[in-house]
Point group: D2
Chain length 367, copies 4
C-alpha cells in the first residue's frame, strides 16, 4: 500500500509526469503549529535543479496545503498537501516507451501491472518522495515541540571518498553550507569534483548517508516487529536507490566481541539531576528495539543512479536486444538531495512511535 | 504491535519464562498441506541445546497445532501454534531483578512499560522467534507449492572469518552438514573453533547471515513503502541482535559507478521458451522494490550476543553503579541458530506479497 | 483514521470550507477502465443544489483526477481525485463560532481536539462524502467488470411515508426519475410534498434508505470480525446522520421463529446449469458473514437533519445558555442525496472483499 | 482478518471442535490489574449449559493465561488466553458432513474455502466469542480504572415480548438475577416460559439486546470512518446471528422532525462544578461519531437460532434435495448468553478509542 505509519500516517500519491504529486497526513495531533515556510525549506533541500550537481529538471516544487490546517494550526484532521508537476517533458521519454532501462523499475512494473506510465519513472521516480518530505517537516515540528528532538542527515561517503564528521556536534548549517551536503570541509570539495567528473562522463555515483537524532525520548519503539531499528530500516529501504541500512556499529560491529561491543551503563550526574547513560553507543540508540535516550545513529547505502548517459545493453518489450543511449535528465549522484528525504523518513518513524508510546502510557501518567 | 504482514499475517506472543510462546497465523489460504514434521524440522534448527555451540538451555520445543488445520490441510482460518517453556529457570535470574544488563532490553523495557518480566528476556528473548519459525514453515510450503520457490540462509561470516559460498548452488543439506551452518568446508571448522574459544573466554561473537531465494515469481513487492527490499529489511531488523541489512551489492556497491553497477537485460533462450534476465545481479533480485525473477540475495549483520560471562560495569534500578558477573545461560554466537529464523522471515515476506499480488492481478487473469 | 478498506482502500481528506475535498484510492487493480463521466454522474447525484429539496449551496463538484490513471486505464497506483470548494461562505458561520449547534459535532470536536474549523461542519459535513462517492464509482466499475454486480439504493421511507418497491426488479432509472429518489410512483410525490412542507416549516425530516445488490459472487466476507454484514454496517454507520443498520429481516425478523426464519436451500435448474439457491432471503444475502449469492439487501436509518431554521436552545463555549436561530444553508431531508453515498459505500466494501477473496483462492485456481 | 481494533487489538482463533479456542490481546497498556476471576466471571455468563434455557453442551470454559501478565499485572506485551474444547462430540455431526444446514455457514464456508471443519460450526460457532469475552474483561478493567466507565447489556425483547427497563439505573445484579438476563421482573418470567416452549417445540427464538454505557469520557471516536457508532456497529454485526444495530433513537427516530429529534444543550450545575449536557439523548451518546459524555445506548437484533430440531428442507453437497432432522445441541434462544458478548465488544471498542484519543491529546496535556 502507499501508506506508511500506524498512528502518524502518510499516504503519498502521484506519478512523476502526471498532474501532481502529493500526500495526505493522517493522525496528526491537533494544535501543532504549521509553518508553511518550514515545509517549503525542506522541499527546497530535495528539489531538482538546485545546482549543476543535480538533475537539470526545473521544478520549483511549491507546496499547497488543501486541508487540515486552520489559522496556522493543525485541526487533527487529514492534512492534504500537493505540488504540481511543471517541467514534465513526457515527449522526452517517447524513445523509452517500449524498452526497459537497466536497473530501473520499467520491467518490473510492466510485469506486475501489465501497464505503466512510461513518461518518466511513475511512482518509482524520486519525485514520489516530495510527499514524504512535506509530511516529515510536520513530524519534525512535533518532535521539536515535544522534546527538542532534532533529526539530521548528511553525506558521509561518495564513491570512494569518505568524510570525517563529529556526529554529536554536526549542525544543519554545516550540512547546508556544503554543495554536496557533506559537513567535512576537506571531503566536500573533493566530492563536488568527483560528482562533476561523473556528470561529464555521463556516468553516476553512489554513496552513504549518515543520520543522527539527538534528544530522543526513552521508550520509543516496540519489542518485536515494530522495533525502532526495524521501522527505520523499512523507512530507509523504501526509498528509491537504497541498498543497505545499518544502525550503530552495523556491519563493522561484527568483528568485535561481546565484551568489546556491549555498551556499559553509568549514571550521568549533571547539577541536580542524573540519568542513566551508556559510555559507548554501539547500539546506535536502541536496545531491544526501543530507544534508550542515546543518539540514534544509522547509515544508508545508495547505489549509483541507474539513469546514465553512457550506452547500455538492454531489451525491448518484444524481447529484442537493443542499445540504449541517453535516457533522460538525471542526477549524477542522488546523495546530494537525499539528506532531506532521510531526515523526513526518520522523523515520520519517530513521531509515529511517539504517539504510539503516548497511547500506552496513560496508566502511569494518571495513577 | 506484535503482528507482522498484511494478508499473510502472524501474531506472536509469549515471554521466555512465561507458560508458553506461540503464534497465530492469519490469512493462510485454505487447502495447503500442513506437515507438522516440516514445522518441527525448522524448530529443531533453531532450538537451544543443539550442540556445545549453543546455549545449554534444554528445550525440545515440540510444536502443538490448536486450530486452523483439519485432516492435514489448512482451513483458511487462523492457525494457532504453541510451544511450552519447559527448562525455564526463573530463579537463575533473581540476581538480575534489579539491574540492567548492558546492551540488553532490561533498561528500555523498564522505562517504556514501568514493569518487566525480569525472569529472562521476556519478549526480547530469542525465544519469541519460535512463532516466526513455525509460521515460516507454512509460508515455505506455500511458496514451494506455488512456484517451487526456495529460501535458504547460511552463516557467511563469524567474527573475522568469512566463507566462500556459491549462492546459486548452495543446498540446505550443505548448510545443515556444518555444525555452524556455514556451507564452506574450509571456513566451517575454523568458525567452530573460534566460537568454542569465545565460549571458553566467557565472551561472544557476531557475524553475517547470507540468504538466497531462488525461483522467485516476477512482480512481488509494491512500488513505494512496501517495496520487497523494505519489507525484507524490516523483517530482518525486527530480529533480536541484528544491526544491518543489505540487498544485492549493498554497502559494497557504492564504490561502483552506474555503468558498472547497472544490471544489463538480455533474453535467455532455453529450448522453446525465452525470458528476460539480467546478466549481473547487483540489484539483488528486485528493481523498483519489485522482484524481477533473479535470485533474491541479502545479508544481515548480527552483533555479538549481549549476554556474556565476563564481568561488566552497569547500574541497578536505584542508579547505583555495579559489576555484573555471569548473566545466565547463553549462546556464544547466535549465528548458528539464525538461518532458520532468517529463512522464516524471508518466507513470510514473500508469501504476504504473493497473496497481495494475487489480489491485484485478477483483472488480467480473467479478461 | 481517515482510511477505509483493507486491500481496496480509500483515504478522504478536506473540510467543508477549506480549499478542497478529495480522496486517494489505493489498491485499485491495474487496467480498469476509468470513465470520468461515470464518476461525475455519481457526484451529480449527491451534489447540493440539485433541486429545491436540497440545500441551496451551489457546488458543481467537478472532479479532477491527479494521478493513477493513464490513457483511460488505472495504473495500479494511487488514484488521487479532488473537488474544489467554491460556494463556501465562511462568513455565514461567524455567529456560530462560539456556540454549539444541537446534535451537531461542534461540541464533540471542540472537546476532542481543542480546536475546530467553525466555518461549516469541517470533516463532519456531508461534503466529506464526495471522496467516497468518487471512489465508489471506480469500485462499481470493478464489480461490473468482474461479475456484472450492481449496487442500488433508494429512498424507502421519509418521515412516516413508506414506499412499496420490488427490490428484485427496481432499476437505477426508476430511482433517478423521482425527485426524492423513491421509485414508488405513489409514495414519491407525497414525499416531495412532505419534504417541501418541512422546508417551509424550517424543520427537517429523516427516513430510511434501502439497498439491493444483485449478482453477488458467492464467498465474499470473512468469518469473524470482517463479516460482510459487519463491514457494511460500519460503512453505513460511518456516514453522517445514520442511526441504524439492518440486513435481511433485520429488527422485524425477531418476531419469527427459527423454523419460519431459516432460508431453505434448493437447487435452481436453469437450462444446462444448476446452482444452490435459498427459497427465502431473510438472511439478506449473507450467512456466517459470507455472501451466499442471493441479493444483498439492507436498510439504513437517517435521522432528521440537525441543521434547522427554527429557534433552538443551546450553550456557547463559555457555558452561557443561548437561543440559536437560523444556522446556515441545509437540506430539509438528506435522504434525497443519500442513495449515491450508500451505493458507494456498499460498492467499496464489496470490492475490498472481492480482492481479499481473490488473494486467498489461488490454491484452488491453480491446482 | 481475525483481528479487531487499532491500538487495543484482539486476534481470536479456534474452531468449535478443534483443540481449543483462544485470543491474543495486543496493545494492552502495562500495569493494569488482571483479576483472572473477573475474566472467568464473564466467561461463565456466556458459557453453554448454564440452565435449561441454553444448549446442553457442557463446557466449563476455564480460562488459562499463557503470557503478558506478571505478578498480577499486565506487562504491555501480548496476553494469550485459551480455553480447551472438552465436550466436543464431532461424531454427532457425522450426518451433517455432506449437507448444508439452512441459514448456517456450511454452504458459504464450503464455497469460500473449498474445505470446512464440518464437526460443528467451525469459526462460525458462537464458541469463537470466548476470546472476545475474555479480552473484553480486561478492557472493562481499563475502562473502570480510567473513568469508572461501566458497560452493561441485557435482554430487551424475546420474540414478541418486550421489557421495560430504566437504562439509566439498571444494574448488573438486576440483569444477572434473571435467568434470561432481562432485568424487568414482569417480562422475565414470560420470556423464560416462551423460550422453554420454543425448546419443547424444537424451534428457536430471536430478540433484542439493549446496551448502556455510563461515565463515558467525552471525545472518543473519530470523525469519519472510525466513528464510535460505526465501530460499535461493526463490533455488534460481527457477532453470530446479529441482523441489526441501532444507536439512540435508531429506526424509531425517523418519524420525528429535526426540531423534535435534536438534543438541546444545557449547563448542568452540581455543587462547584458544571458541565455541558443534553436534555434528551436521541443521539445515543455520540455526535459526529464522537462521544459527548451522555450514556451510550444502542440495541442489537439477533435472529432466531438457525439450529432447530424441526425437519427442514435443504440440499447436500452433491446437490440432492434432502430433509434435515435434528441438527445438534443448540440454544433455543441465544439472547440469554448474549449480554456478556455484547458488553465485551462494546468495551473493546471503547478501550481502543480511549487509547487512540490518548495518543492524540499529548499536545494539550503537555503544553
Amino acid at each position: 500500500m502507499n501508506t506508511f505509519g500506524h498512528l502518524f500516517r502518510i499516504t503519498t500519491w502521484g506519478e512523476s509526469h502526471g498532474g501532481a504529486v502529493g500526500v495526505v497526513v493522517d493522525g496528526c495531533p491537533p494544535q501543532i503549529d504549521v509553518d508553511i515556510s518550514a515545509i517549503q525549506f525542506e522541499l527546497d533541500r530535495r528539489r531538482p535543479g538546485q545546482s549543476h550537481l543535480t538533475t537539470p529538471r526545473q521544478e520549483s516544487d511549491v507546496v499547497e496545503i488543501l486541508s487540515g490546517v486552520f489559522e496556522g494550526k493543525t485541526l487533527g484532521t487529514p492534512i492534504s498537501m500537493l505540488v504540481w508537476n511543471k517541467d514534465a517533458r513526457p515527449a522526452a521519454y517517447d524513445h523509452l516507451k517500449d524498452l526497459y532501462r537497466p536497473s530501473h523499475a520499467d520491467f518490473t512494473y510492466q510485469q506486475k501491472y501489465g501497464i505503466r506510465n512510461w513518461q518518466g519513472g511513475g511512482r518509482a521516480s524520486a519525485r514520489e518522495t516530495i510527499g514524504r518530505v512535506a509530511a516529515g517537516a510536520i513530524a519534525k515540528q512535533i518532535l521539536r515541540e515535544h522534546a527538542e528532538t532534532e533529526v539530521l542527515a548528511y553525506v558521509k561517503q561518495v564513491h570512494t571518498l569518505t568524510a570525517t564528521v563529529d556526529m554529536d556536534r554536526v549542525t544543519l548549517e554545516q550540512i547546508e553550507e556544503s554543495p554536496v551536503r557533506c559537513p567535512d570541509p576537506i571531503a566536500s570539495p573533493k566530492m563536488v569534483e568527483r560528482i562533476d567528473q561523473a556528470r561529464r562522463d555521463q556516468d553516476s555515483l553512489g554513496g552513504i548517508i549518515a543520520s543522527v537524532t539527538r534528544n530522543v525520548p526513552v521508550g520509543l519503539g516496540e519489542p518485536v516487529f515494530d522495533k525502532l531499528k526495524a521501522d527505520l530500516a523499512k523507512a530507509m529501504m523504501s526509498l528509491p536507490a537504497t541498498m543497505g541500512f545499518q544502525i550503530g556499529s552495523g556491519f563493522d560491529g561484527i568483528t568485535m566481541t561481546g565484551s568489546e561491543h556491549n555498551d556499559p551503563f553509568y549514571m550521568e550526574k549533571h547539577n541536580e539531576s542524573e540519568r542513566i547513560r551508556t559510555r559507548t553507543n554501539n547500539s546506535g540508540g536502541t536496545q531491544g528495539g526501543i530507544s534508550n535516550g542515546e543518539n540514534i545513529v544509522f547509515q544508508v547505502a545508495f547505489k549509483p543512479t541507474a539513469t546514465i548517459g553512457k550506452p547500455q545493453q538492454t531489451v525491448d518489450m518484444e524481447g529484442n536486444e537493443v542499445t540504449l543511449e541517453a535516457s533522460g535528465r538525471h542526477d549524477p549522484c542522488v546523495l546530494v538531495r537525499a539528506p532531506a528525504i532521510v531526515e523526513a523518513m526518520a522523523a515520520l518513524v519517530l513521531t509515529d512511535h511517539l504517539l504510539r508510546q503516548r497511547s500506552k502510557s496513560y496508566s502511569q501518567s494518571e495513577k
